[in-house]
């Protein structure tokens, strides 16, 4: 009914709440992403569901600029470059396509992290710039383009429907001619403060920080923490003996997509680090760990999507003696890349052909490959070599190779191009790794349900764990080493579907339980540590650490306890699981060897913002990001309103003046002297 007591603003605007913006990222030489004007960009909405609709926007439509509502299936490079070139587009809203586009969609580069890996014109030039193998053929490079209009993602199908309804009611062209006012329009705010490149924005930020009382920083470097843990405890503040050899196992834990903080990363990140965590758990259950000749370090690198932030920093720290290990200590390197989409259960082993030309390295690599193959006997995994003709896929191992010719192998599910057709996109979801749950399960049941994907990843973890045991010098039978599919399943659920589940809640610190949001995203943001890093740290502590009988005070202040060996271990006071009958939790203390190491690109430590050797990615700052839709009136109505107002003003001034002047004529009041006038 009428008069609901709405404020006028609610009558005019409908805010769009479930959106994700595309933000500006900068590196040493370029800026990528999107930018809106400082007071938002407005445009008349036009729904583009097929290619022909674009003509209205680009040429025919009479009311430019337009704000396009693009169907997810049309969000490709060709359409985007057309829109980029015209001035008739003031913004874009993309409706996520359900189901995912069948031909694949990847806004990443065809050759990810090119130029920051090991292959360059000085080292294996035939492999540089993906000359030999294009790793991501579906890649359109959209994420790395620079758009001067805002682009938002509409995550909620209901909001998309509201916009389409508004369009149907007001904007549809009738009988070939243009639609009439009032028209439905949309306004997007996503003004970014940083411009040009990291060099420019860091220079401006440092000037502000140095000289201004109220500094206005314009960009922040992408930074977070790497998580690392060793099988045999080492002194984290000291240095490890040069004779002591360590095998490094590595995975990345981050991903990216075109839009900010949308990075489900199921195949590109989660599959690999979940397998890694399961292998770590399996190894810690072995009884003779302390007898092993070599130590094993489980490393989870953050920021690898952006030119290897985490691994380049760790290599730098190792070279500069800021890390307990040095490059000399590394015996070999095993990396797990995307492992969930195996064809016929084949897992490919990639090695670097250039370093294998050195005899000693070749011998060690052969040894490594044979141990891996032997470990796969009896498991439902077939290991095959990718061969001499293939370079390494984009992996953290490449950064270590840049510094030292270490024997190593990268395990993936693809031989040449990625099996993942949605690499670094918003469609890299659980469906992409065929993670399916039966209908009608409660969240608790879903947490405990063991999926086929979990079983398959557990197989890979078993093979890796057994191989690592052998590599570390273990002599016993490895058939007892098994990764637990239940753990894998729980981790997949937590990292892909719902972070806020009972298992995660029981293994984190009490004061950070607010961080568990709803849909998990694995973007390395600028405020650290992100949820993913926290959770990997605490899950690893839970899976590989031991429960110790310390009180809360002793656990939080281990240096006061004499036998705590604070150097070797980290103590965490976790909140424990919920008693089924009560509402309180039973917290306890966990002792583990899990540490965090800062993952900030050395370029920022060295203040070489234009560096081509280290990652220089930064993210711009912004003030507000929001979107809303409303109706716009025609220019005629606005002019009419204004003219009418001015006319009434002038008329009333004249009338009042005349009435005032002739007041004695109008009002004859015998009683009072001086009536209404002076």
């Amino acid at each position: 009914g009428s008069c609901q007591g709405n404020s006028v603003e609610r009558k005019i605007y409908i805010p769009l709440n479930k959106t994700a913006p595309c933000v500006r990222l900068l590196n040493a030489t370029h800026q990528i992403g999107c930018q809106s004007s400082i007071s938002g960009d407005t445009g008349v909405i036009h729904v583009v569901e097929k290619e022909e609709d674009l003509n209205w926007v680009l040429a025919d439509g009479p009311h430019p600029p337009y704000m396009i509502l693009l169907d997810g299936n049309l969000f490709n490079r060709r359409v985007m470059l057309q829109l980029k070139g015209t001035s008739r587009v003031s913004g874009l809203a993309v409706a996520i396509a359900k189901p995912s586009p069948p031909q694949g969609f990847s806004p990443g580069l065809k050759c990810p992290n090119d130029g920051f890996g090991v292959y360059s014109k000085d080292y294996g030039p035939q492999f540089a710039h993906c000359n030999k193998t294009v790793w991501n053929p579906v890649g359109s490079g959209l994420s790395y383009e620079d758009f001067d209009f805002p682009i938002f993602l509409l995550e909620d199908a209901n909001e998309t429907q509201v916009i389409k309804q508004c369009y149907q009611d007001h904007n549809v062209p009738r009988d070939g001619s243009g639609p009439e006012y009032p028209l439905c329009a949309m306004q997007l705010f996503s003004h970014m403060h940083a411009v040009t490149s990291t060099v420019t924005c860091m220079r401006r930020s440092s000037l502000q920080s140095t000289f201004s009382i109220n500094p206005e920083v314009v960009c922040d470097p992408l930074l977070d923490y790497n998580v690392w843990s060793t099988l045999q405890p080492i002194n984290s503040s000291g240095k490890v003996d040069p004779e002591k050899e360590v095998i490094i196992v590595a995975t990345r834990i981050d991903s990216h997509s075109f839009f900010w903080n949308i990075a489900p990363g199921a195949e590109s990140a989660v599959s690999s680090f979940v397998t890694h965590l399961a292998a770590a758990e399996a190894l810690h259950k072995v009884s003779d760990i302390h007898l092993l000749q070599r130590n094993i370090m489980f490393t989870f690198f953050q920021g690898e999507t952006f030119d290897y932030i985490g691994s380049s920093r760790m290599v730098y720290d190792m070279e500069k003696d800021k890390f307990p290990l040095r490059l000399d200590n590394i015996h070999s390197f095993v990396e797990l890349n995307q492992v969930a989409l195996r064809n016929d259960s084949i897992l490919w082993m990639h090695t670097d052909p250039v370093s294998r030309m050195n005899e000693s390295v070749e011998v060690q690599v052969r040894n490594l490959l044979s141990i891996l193959s032997d470990s796969s006997v009896g498991a439902n995994v077939t290991l095959q070599e990718a061969g001499y003709s293939q370079p390494l896929p984009p992996s953290s191992f490449q950064r270590f190779l840049r510094a030292r010719h270490i024997p190593g192998v990268v395990l993936t599910d693809h031989r040449t191009a990625f099996q993942n057709r949605y690499y670094q996109s918003m469609y890299d979801t659980p469906e992409n790794i065929r993670l399916q749950y039966p209908e009608g399960l409660s969240p608790e049941e879903t947490l405990e349900y063991v999926t086929d994907t979990a079983k398959s990843l557990a197989e890979v973890a078993t093979v890796v764990a057994r191989a690592l045991y052998r590599l570390a010098g273990g002599a016993n039978n490895t058939s007892a080493i098994q990764a637990d599919p239940k753990t894998v399943s729980r981790m997949l659920y937590g990292f892909l579907i719902k972070m806020n589940n009972s298992w995660f809640q029981s293994i984190i610190k009490p004061d950070i339980k607010g961080i568990l949001g709803d849909v998990p995203q694995h973007y390395v943001a600028v405020s650290s540590p992100v949820n993913t890093t926290y959770l990997v740290q605490y899950v690893l502590a839970n899976l590989t650490g031991t429960v110790v009988n310390l009180t809360k005070e002793e656990c939080l202040n281990p240096e006061k306890t004499p036998s705590s060996e604070k150097e070797m271990y980290e103590y965490a006071w976790v909140q424990g699981s919920l008693d089924p009958n009560s509402t309180s939790r039973v917290p306890y203390c966990v002792r583990s060897t899990v540490h965090l190491s800062k993952a900030l690109s050395p370029a920022f430590e060295l203040r070489q913002w234009g560096s081509t050797e280290y990652s220089t990615w930064t993210e711009s700052r912004w003030k507000e990001i929001r979107a809303r839709i409303f109706l716009v009136a025609s220019k005629e109505l606005e002019i009419i309103t204004l003219v009418v107002g001015i006319a009434i003003l002038i008329f009333s001034l004249l009338a009042t003046y005349f009435i005032n002047a002739k007041a004695d004529v109008l009002f004859s009041v015998p009683r009072d002297p001086g009536a209404v006038a002076y």
Binding site: K11, I12, Y13, L631, L666, F667, V676
Partner: protein, 231 residues
């Protein structure tokens, strides 16, 4: 029009300015009190119950009208006392301003404040790129709001004159007519968005009130004819 009235008739005399501002203040206080009552009533009730909310709104509006008129009466009392003071202060024993002038200025004060309140938040939202209509409201929202505000300002002015005249001469029926007219105009706004239903009767009532106030202030049909012909 309110600006014109202000500029030409009030701005020159500081005493009138004071009465204007005080009048505006009194209206503001009455609105504050009535909105307090409405706010408490809304918070105490169920927000999801639509008819109840609408009923509360109607009740709130009526209560506000009554409160505004009550404050007008209070203001009249205050001004009466003020006249005695002014007479005491003046040199020739009669006050520099008559009660009718005070009535007029008080009415303008009430009207200005009421108009400001009606329009300012509309203007603030009108500055944005959008206009009213996405939920199906009429496009002419801003225009009709402006006209409604104008008629309300005029009405307050005329009601001021009528009300004070009624108080002066102890003609309680005049006061009742003012109150009833105010209730009627406010009630008509509930007809919105059927703007014809609220604007047209309001303008008709305004014309009636204008004529009546004019006659009370000493005008007559003769004077009107002379004025128009002289022009």
């Amino acid at each position: 029009p309110a600006l014109g009235l202000f500029l030409f008739t009030i701005a020159r005399d500081p005493l009138r300015i004071i009465i204007l501002i005080a009048g505006a203040f009194f209206w503001l206080v009455s609105l504050l009190l009535s909105s307090l009552i409405w706010f408490i009533a809304v918070k105490a009730s169920d927000p999801r119950d639509e008819p109840l909310q609408k009923g509360l709104l109607i009740f709130g509006v009526m209560f506000s009208v009554l409160l505004q008129e009550a404050f007008r009466f209070l203001y009249y009392k205050l001004l009466r006392k003020a006249i005695e003071g002014l007479v005491a202060l003046s040199e020739d024993g009669c006050s520099p301003i008559s009660i009718q002038q005070m009535a007029y200025v008080a009415g303008v004060g009430f009207g200005l404040m009421s108009g400001a309140f009606s329009m300012i938040n509309l203007l603030a939202d009108a500055l944005g790129p959008g206009t009213v209509g996405i939920h199906g409201d009429s496009q002419l929202y801003f225009l009709t709001s402006a006209f409604m505000t104008m008629v309300l300002i005029f009405l307050h002015t005329f009601w001021g004159i009528l009300f004070f005249h009624g108080c002066e001469h102890r003609r309680w029926w005049e006061i009742m007519v003012v109150v009833v007219m105010h209730l009627a105009v406010s009630g008509l706004t509930f007809c919105n968005p059927l703007y014809v239903g609220s604007l047209v009767p309001s303008y008709v009532l305004m014309a009636i009130a204008a004529a009546w106030a004019y006659l009370l202030s000493g005008g007559s049909a003769q004077n009107l004819r002379r004025f128009l012909l002289c022009k």
